[in-house]
Amino acid sequence: MVTRVGIEVSIALADAVKLANPDVVAAYPITPQTHIVEHLAELVANGELDAEYIPVESEHSAMSACLGSAAAGARTFTATASQGLALMNEVVYVAAPMRLPIVMAVANRALSAPLSIWCDHSDMMSVRDTGWIQIIAENGQQCVDNIICAFRIAEDRRVLLPVMVHLDGFNLTHVIEPIIFPEQEKVDKFLPRNRFPLPLNPDKPVAMGDFAPPVIFTETKWAHEVAIRNSQKVVHEIWNEYHTAFGRQYHPVEKYHSDSAKVLIMTMGAVGETASVAIDEMRAEGMDIGQIRLRLWRPFPFKELREAAKDADILIVMDRSISYGGPGGPVASEVKSAFYSQAKKPKIVSYVISLGGRDTTVSDFKGIVKKSIEIAEKGSRNEYEIYGVRE
């Protein structure tokens, strides 16, 4: 029998980590990630999770300890946010080309200055090119499911790459949602023990992290690129398998009334659910509108995105961060490049919304859609629009 539990998403996520039975958790507290690591520390302290919890002195050391742990062959988890992710940035870059299957939850939060503890995606964008697989959750259930999938994806022999699971700070981390927890036995079956191919072991010495002269550096980068591109197939496969085992299906691009809709809103993260309510209301008013949500940020699902928006005339892309002095919304800029080569493509309108935790409500979304249709018809001199800013 399936039971839903009303539980805070951070706690649920930590419980999902427990279901995955990691060996090492190394983490440093930062708002809004704290409840995740507090609960993990508690689970370890109570003997409910048999793992080593390393209370490191910084995020830089958190990810560094994760490197060591994963290199030794242990299943490894950490979580961070915002400034923490920025501080560990150097180490985040190292994890992927060393092919260390670490799983990290990122409770998305704005980057300083000015200081803000609330959600946007500027931290996520700061690690865009680190070569990690990046999954974005929209609600608590997706956090739980994707944390378990993340370990499976990361440790797959065909992948061996670290995986980030993004969840919006506060908008997700601190809300109570009904969650269905998978059963432990089924998770154990879905997620067997980590078998890292060449761990640090005196019985079979390996050297990891050598330096590369120019004659070989490009090849190492290409190997990484091929690995992450090829990982998409495995991600689909594992999501399908998860569906068979647990009944919930995930896609790199999730569709909501999007088939043959003329206007599409594209979202990433928890605002997507508010947007869905707006879509429902607009459709009830007779508008031909749908929504697509990006679930997989890296590797970027070009094919699925093109397929999902092929019949649309207007595609409105919502970003929660700015690439300053550049194209504006980083997601919109990816989407534009995905469609540039296509013969038939929608008009793409880029909107920056919800920076530093500012709410975008159902009526805001309606306003954005109205304005975007105007822009798509008449054109705009702006590279992108920013919603509701007081100039």
């Binding site: 060996d23 090492v24 190394a26 048999d50 793992a51 080593e52 390393i54 209370p55 490191v56 002195e57 910084s58 830089h60 050391s61 958190a62 560094s64 300890a65 994760c66 490197l67 060591g68 742990s69 994963a70 290199a71 030794a72 062959g73 242990a74 490894t76 150097e90 180490v91 190292v94 060393m98 023990r193 640090l200 072991n201 005196p202 019985d203 079979k204 010495p205 390996v206 050297a207 990891m208 992290g209 050598d210 330096f211 590369a212 002269p213 070989i216 190492t220």
Partner: protein
């Protein structure tokens, strides 16, 4: 020191864990110290290496000098990486994963990685009590990037970023006392060593690794390139550093200080300074200033060791009763 002094040739292992063929400079004291340390440690060791000379000379894809499982990731984080390895082994063993028994984790870094950029990570790892050993191979500047000053560069020494000039006599600050900082973490074992006293070095490294909990060994490693000294004098320089009191050899076991060598009196520091181009410019005033400071620091250390010998005596008396 004890047993090595008697059975030297038979006790030193033939096997090289830091094998020849690496690309260190001629007369590299650090490569020598690393070689000795890992000879003493044997095969059941995992090494986490900081970026620096020893990483650059010993690893270049697709080659490696290391005969041990070895990982390099970044400059400032080997202590944190080592804590991850240690925790991983602990957890996996508990969960029944088959692993070799009694494997030791050793983090190594230069003086820059240790006393400057990695200090926080080291402090964190020592404080958390991981069962690992951190070895600092101190050649007293950022030699790998071209002899820039670090906080471990001695007072008055010339480096490329502490040059002597009309308004400068070189390094303007006193060498950061890393072993004391490590000892302040109340860890079970801290020691200083240098390659000029190889058996002392090997014994201390072995002891550090065999001590449960965190241990710290600080090894002065002569860099003829950066110190502007002849390549064939590295061991002489290393011994002079000890005999002049510039770099005293001692151990701190569970807070108890013990001098490693009895020096009836210190040689004048000029014996040490004159052999090195990095000190050549120093005026008599500055030399006198250094001499005064060295004597003072050495005296402070002797005082601590005196207290240490009292406590050990007290303990042994208690035992005999």
């Amino acid at each position: 020191m004890e047993k090595y002094a008697v059975y030297v040739p038979r006790l030193v292992k033939k096997q090289e864990n830091f094998a020849p063929g690496h690309r260190a400079c001629i007369g590299c004291g650090e490569a020598l110290a690393v070689r000795m340390a890992f000879k003493a440690l044997g095969n059941n060791v995992i090494v986490a290496n900081a970026t620096g000379c020893m990483e650059i000379v010993a690893s270049q894809l697709p080659f490696s000098t290391w005969q041990l499982p070895w990982i390099h990731t970044l400059f400032e984080n080997p202590a944190a990486v080592a804590s991850g390895i240690e925790a991983a082994y602990k957890a996996m063993r508990r969960k029944g994963v088959e692993l070799p028994e009694n494997t030791k984790v050793v983090a190594i870094g230069g003086d820059g990685a240790t006393s400057d950029i990695g200090l926080q990570a080291i402090s964190g790892a020592l404080e958390r009590g991981h069962d690992f050993t951190y070895i600092c191979f101190d050649n007293e500047a950022y030699m790998n990037t071209g002899i820039q000053r670090s906080s471990a560069t001695p007072f008055g020494a010339v480096t490329t970023t502490s040059p002597a000039g009309k308004k400068s006599f070189g390094q303007f600050s006193w060498k950061k006392n890393m072993p004391e900082i490590a000892a302040a973490h109340n860890i079970p074992y801290v020691a200083t060593a240098t390659h000029g006293y190889p058996f002392d070095l090997m014994a201390k490294v072995r002891k550090a690794v065999d001590t449960p909990g965190p241990a710290y060994v600080h090894i002065l490693s002569v860099c003829p390139t950066g110190w502007r000294s002849p390549a064939d004098t590295i061991n002489r320089q290393s011994r002079l550093a000890v005999q002049t009191g510039m770099f005293p050899l001692y151990e701190v076991e569970n807070g108890v200080y013990k001098m490693s060598i009895d020096l009836p009196r210190l040689r004048p520091i000029t014996d040490y300074l004159k052999g090195q181009g990095r000190f050549r410019h120093l005026s008599d005033d500055v030399i006198a200033q250094i001499q005064k400071r060295v004597k003072l620091e050495y005296q402070k250390l002797l005082e601590k060791a005196k207290y240490g010998s009292k406590t050990t005596k007290r303990k042994s008396r208690a035992r005999t009763k």
